[in-house]
């Protein structure tokens, strides 16, 4: 065996078919990240800046608010007035908030469940998708708020029509996002599953669902506040039913009680904040592997 190890013969590598490989210079490894303590210090400084600027914005808005309230008390109530109302009878507000929360959560959860089940079926059957999609699009372009009065007539003044409005508001977005997520499995990973003869259930639970989670979470983040809107609007419409923050705002507004209107709005804002916080918390817990969580 001739072992003429000619170093120069390596040049043969520079052939048309192989040029990309031969020309490739070993890439230097990415520079090691900055030393940990400095990075940590930098991060806490950034966090401080973020919180500080946020607080500054809120304080500035509060000052502008108070100036307007002083100049024109019919336009905005004083912050203190609103606070006094809240502090004087917190149970009333809590009860109304509970009612609105109930409408939001039941409506949203049912909508989510239905959207999820439907997306799961649609991802496996083009026919079902073709039948369902046009209906869903029609539902989407029809403002759910407009359907609310009809729902109240059909289902009475109970909670049911409110649930439906709160759910209907977000159904389309939840369905489309979930469907997109379930379809977002990396094709080569799908190939691996196919060569292993993975069952549809295997693929659904071990591939599709985890891949869909980021899509589902971003949809939930957007949709939960929208469901709150649905709940409040349904409470407006279902006059005669005196529960919920929506109804409370209606009643306060009709008697010109600005402070009470804003007290209820403040409770709504806190409610929305709380829900957003819960979703973000769940997302961080479940999606720690996802690149998006690295930036949070």
């Amino acid at each position: 065996m001739a072992r003429s190890a000619l170093a120069t013969a390596k040049a043969v590598d520079l052939d048309a078919f192989d040029s990309d490989a031969a020309a490739a210079v070993p890439q230097p490894r990415a520079a090691s990240p900055a030393s940990a303590p400095r990075a940590k210090k930098y991060r806490s400084w950034t966090a401080l800046k973020v919180i500080g600027s946020g607080a500054l914005g809120i304080v500035l808005a509060g000052i502008v608010w108070e100036i307007i309230a002083t100049v024109n008390p019919f336009f905005l109530p004083h912050g203190l007035e609103v606070w006094d109302l809240l502090a004087a009878n917190p149970l009333v507000f809590l009860r109304n908030a509970g009612s609105t929360l109930q409408v939001t959560m039941v409506g949203f959860s049912c909508s989510f469940l239905l959207a999820f089940l439907l997306a799961t079926v649609m991802v496996h059957s083009k026919t079902v998708e073709r039948v369902i999609m046009p209906l869903v699009v029609i539902l989407k372009v029809t403002p759910s708020v407009a359907i609310a009065p009809a729902l109240v007539i059909a289902f009475g003044f109970g909670f049911l029509p409110k649930y439906i409005v709160a759910g209907l508001m977000v159904f389309f977005q939840l369905l489309v996002s979930t469907l997109m997520g379930l379809r977002s499995v990396d094709p080569q990973t799908m190939d691996i599953a196919k060569t292993l003869h993975a069952s549809k259930l295997d693929v659904l639970f071990r591939l599709r669902l985890p891949y869909a989670l980021p899509f589902i979470f971003s949809a939930v983040k957007v949709c939960l506040p929208v469901s709150v809107i649905g709940a409040v609007v349904a409470e407006y419409v279902a006059a005669g039913q005196l529960t919920g923050l929506g109804a409370a705002i209606e009643i306060a507004a009709s008697s010109g009680d600005m402070a009470r209107v804003f007290a209820n709005i403040a409770v709504l804002a806190v409610l929305g904040l709380g829900l957003s916080f819960l979703v973000t918390f769940a997302e961080r817990f479940l999606l720690s592997w996802h690149p998006s969580s690295a930036h949070n």
Binding site: M1, A2, R3, S4, A5, L6, A7, A9, K10, V12, D13, D15, F17, D18, A21, A22, A24, V25, P26, Q27, R29, D186, Q188, T189, D191, I192, A193, K194, T195, L196, H197, A198, S199, D202, V203, R206, L207, P210, W289, H290, P291
Partner: protein, 279 residues
């Protein structure tokens, strides 16, 4: 050095007696894709037999159908004509009994699973397939692949080369009868590519699985293969089958020997011939 297309595997002291000894068998395989610009003949009358324990590489210009042929063997694409057999099983049956280990171009790892979790995935899906073969200890296997430190890491924490190692380890772990590798190193820089290639050979040498390997690198083809199948494009056909009679395990620095270069030149000549012929 060139042989007829049909040939049984190396080490044929005893001729293949049953179908099982012939590992991967393509017989008159044809495939036509329907595209917007009309039907495209991707594969035309491709016949090839890969013996048990043989390492065979498909090489050719893009569009020669080498990946299509591999995907047909993997059951990812249906063929229009001919027969495909994996150790006497249809592709479908081979997949059902987990006899196909695929290493795709990208690592195709699940980003939420650890390295160990990814390697174990093949056992967790399709549990109906009762594996009667003895499986290696996954941790031991990962050490063998130089991934001992990375066992509990997530793919995003690893370099591209490390990720591809995990992908190869995943295919080795469940001891499939055939390994199908579709340009597994093509996304890596050359340094990493050579390192991984040597590692693959080292591990393959231990129990010599039947491998069908697709590459567009001549050097890589010579370095890894028992036989190199040169394909030509439009329609995809086998142009030549070249036996690589180099010692196994491949000694260090074999890429610089004259013999190695002779094989490279031979393959290049065939590739260019196919190119000129095609155009």
């Amino acid at each position: 050095m060139m042989s007829v297309l049909e040939r049984s595997g190396p080490g044929t002291a005893e001729a293949p007696t049953d179908l099982g000894e012939r590992g991967i068998v393509f017989e008159g395989v044809g495939k036509t894709f329907l595209t917007k610009s009309g039907p495209t003949r991707a594969l035309d009358d491709v016949s090839l037999t890969i013996g048990r324990g043989e390492f065979v590489t498909l090489i050719g210009p893009s569009g020669c159908g080498k990946s299509t042929l591999l995907k047909i063997a993997a059951g990812l694409i249906d063929h229009d004509e001919g027969d495909v057999n994996l150790f006497g099983q249809t592709v479908e049956a081979a997949a059902a009994s987990k006899n196909i280990g695929l290493v795709p171009q990208s690592p195709a790892l699940l980003p939420w699973r650890t390295v160990l979790g990814n390697v174990k995935l093949p056992l967790q899906v399709n549990r109906r397939a009762k594996l009667d073969r003895e499986l290696p200890d996954p941790v031991e296997l990962l050490r063998l692949f130089g991934l001992g430190e990375a066992i509990d890491k997530r793919p995003a924490q690893l370099s591209g080369g490390m990720q591809q190692r995990v992908s190869i380890a995943r295919a080795f772990y469940f001891e499939p009868a055939v390994l199908l590798m579709d340009e597994p190193f093509s996304a890596l820089d050359e340094f990493t590519r050579e390192m991984l290639r040597d590692e693959l050979l080292r591990i393959w040498d231990r129990d010599k699985k039947t491998v069908l390997f697709v590459t567009h690198s001549v050097t890589e083809a010579v370095a890894v293969s028992d036989r190199v199948v040169v394909m030509s494009a439009r329609p995809g056909r086998i142009r030549a089958v070249i036996d690589i009679d180099l010692p196994r395990p491949r000694p260090e620095g074999i890429e610089t020997t004259l013999e190695f270069h002779e094989f490279e030149d031979l393959i290049r000549k065939e590739l260019k011939g196919g190119w000129n012929h095609g155009s």
